[in-house]
């Protein structure tokens, strides 16, 4: 019963090999990409490390004129905006997710989910545009009002532009809201119905059930969701760039103009002419890249454990 390979058999075999090779190539390429990014950014930022070494990470001076560069202001700016946005948006994200999972019927949940998708799908630059022309003037008025309230002449005088950390935090909070809300919702939806019904049957109110059964059950995946959202916020570029004010110094208050790692690059890269300046900006990109990869992988690991549990 040994069959002679016919022509169509041979064609099939060739196709099979090509297919296997293509799949493997693409898979390897995807993994290599991460290494390629790392190597490429590392090599092209050499001049900065040659000039400043590791202390680049905590030097607080960023001065293109004297060509002294340190990442601290940007790192601080990134952390403040990222965590600030997370702090503001998380309660709302949680509320929205709980509303969709436990309160809204199918009829109400579907359109709200659709709107969440819509808000999450808007490009960053659109948020930036809206932030710059709508949000920033409001923040500016708030600053003046606040300055008068606490009696700070300096604030009334300096903060009137409205651009700065506060505007960036608020805008970022809006931007990551749909993202974290849908991630949290996903984890809430896996809570088994019997668990909830069991609690309700014992006479617990709806909120008791949510607080004592549902939320503890998804604690892990919720942490994963928040870490992912934080990663989003830390790397967000255009919207922040447009409202944060490109401040080069360490910010002293929430009303100060500042920079994040991302916004510093976006704001300054095209103006940078000297090799050290360019390399230092690429160095910022490298730091941001490493932070983003670490956060993302950590979040995935947390999420996977959460599912297994």
């Amino acid at each position: 019963m040994a069959v002679q390979p016919s022509r169509s058999d041979r064609r099939e075999l060739v196709r099979e090999r090509a297919f296997t090779a293509a799949g493997l190539t693409a898979a390897v390429a995807l993994v290599t990409t991460i290494v390629l990014f790392l190597v490429q950014l590392f090599i092209t930022s050499r001049a900065s490390r040659a000039a400043f070494g590791i202390p680049f990470l905590w030097r607080s001076e960023w001065n293109p004129v004297t060509e002294q560069f340190g990442a601290l202001p940007m790192i601080i700016g990134t952390l403040i905006t990222g965590f600030g946005a997370l702090l503001i948006s998380t309660p709302f994200a949680l509320g929205i997710a709980i509303f969709l999972a436990d309160y809204a019927g199918k009829k109400a949940a579907e359109p709200v989910k659709y709107l969440i998708g819509l808000l999450g799908g808007l490009p960053s630059v659109i948020f930036g545009l809206w932030g710059l022309f709508v949000l920033v003037p409001i923040v500016s008025r708030f600053e003046v009002w606040f300055g008068k309230l606490v009696g700070s002449e300096a604030l009334v005088a300096s903060g009137t532009t409205g651009v700065g950390l506060l505007a960036a935090i608020l805008l970022l909070a809006i931007m990551i809201l749909p993202f974290s809300a849908s991630l949290i919702l996903e984890s809430l939806l896996v809570v088994p119905m019997e668990l909830k019904e069991g609690a309700l049957a014992l006479g617990a109110t709806k909120w008791d059930t949510i607080q004592n059964v549902e939320l503890p059950y998804v604690r892990r995946s919720m942490v994963g969701a928040l870490v992912l959202s934080l990663g989003r916020a830390l790397g967000e570029t255009m919207a922040v760039t447009m409202v944060i004010g490109n401040g080069m110094r360490l910010p002293h208050s929430l009303f100060d103009p500042a920079n994040t790692l991302a916004s510093a690059i976006a704001n300054q890269f095209l103006e940078a002419t000297s090799p050290v300046y360019i390399a230092s900006l690429i160095q910022l990109a490298l730091i941001l890249f490493v932070i983003a990869i670490v956060i993302n992988i950590a979040a995935r690991v947390i999420l996977r454990r959460g599912v297994q549990q």
């Binding site: 019963m1 040994a2 069959v3 169509s8 064609r11 099939e12």
Partner: protein, 254 residues
């Protein structure tokens, strides 16, 4: 009835899912142009056994098997698995015509999926004769270019049989082909199996004692992964030699 020749011989087949062994030294001689029923309680390894014959078993992650399968005397492990499957067709428990293909395309799916191109007349002819063999031609003649999934459950299962025998296999494996169907469709398919044995050798997994008695020439009884009895249906049903077979036949197991 004279002794039929052997189309398929298994020698000491063992099979595992991960660390769990589910088949133990199964050796059997499957006669040519006969219907052989495979019976036994749920979970005894019937499905696993037929899936080792065409190599589908090994596609489950973590699955292993050992032993020899001889197809008309040829050790199948020396053949390309793709050729083995062209000679040993399989029909599944649930009707599963390809949803992206029409009735016509479903009949020819085997040719299409193995890259064989057919001339138009040849294709038309295969479709017509094959659908005739499964008794579908008059029913679906006007629906040839509708989706295969638009047919009724029983018709879909016959379409799946057609798609399998269109490849002219030597052996056709049926894994409980009627368990998802209504009694009327079941009757049609049972009749069909008896008709098909003049051209194909049929291996047929079933839960129903009645069904096995009605249509099979030979039966193989499995229990806990072992082949405990094999023989002519009439003989086994009347006078089982193994105590376990007897118990099963008298309804002591599920």
């Amino acid at each position: 009835m004279e002794e039929p020749s052997i189309v398929l011989e298994t020698q000491k087949i063992n099979a595992w899912f991960g660390k769990d062994q589910v088949l133990f030294d199964v050796s059997a001689h499957i006669p040519k142009n006969r219907v052989t029923a495979i019976m036994g309680p749920s979970g005894c390894g019937k499905t696993t056994f037929v899936r080792t014959l065409n190599g589908l078993h090994l596609m489950t992650p973590g699955a292993r098997s050992s032993g020899t399968v001889l197809l008309e005397g040829t050790d199948t492990s020396t053949m390309d698995i793709v050729d083995v499957r062209k000679h040993i067709g399989m029909v599944f428990q649930r009707p599963n015509p390809f949803p992206t293909m029409t009735v016509y395309e479903n009949v020819l799916a085997g040719y299409r999926l193995t890259g064989q191109r057919l001339a138009r007349e040849k294709a038309d002819q295969i479709v017509e004769t094959t659908l005739n063999k499964v008794g579908l031609w008059t029913e679906v003649q006007t629906k040839l270019f509708k989706a295969g999934t638009s047919l009724s459950g029983g018709q879909q299962q016959r379409l799946c049989i057609a798609r399998t025998i269109a490849m002219e296999p030597a052996v056709v494996l049926f894994d409980e082909p009627t368990s998802a169907l209504d009694p009327k469709s079941t009757a049609i398919i049972e009749e069909l199996l008896s008709d098909l044995k003049s051209e194909y050798s049929i291996l047929f997994v079933t839960h129903g004692l009645q069904q096995a008695a009605r249509i099979s020439d030979y039966v193989a009884f499995f229990m806990l992964g072992e082949l405990v009895e094999f023989g002519e249906t009439k003989r086994v049903f009347v006078g089982p030699q193994d105590k376990r077979t007897e118990d099963y036949l008298s309804g002591k197991y599920g």
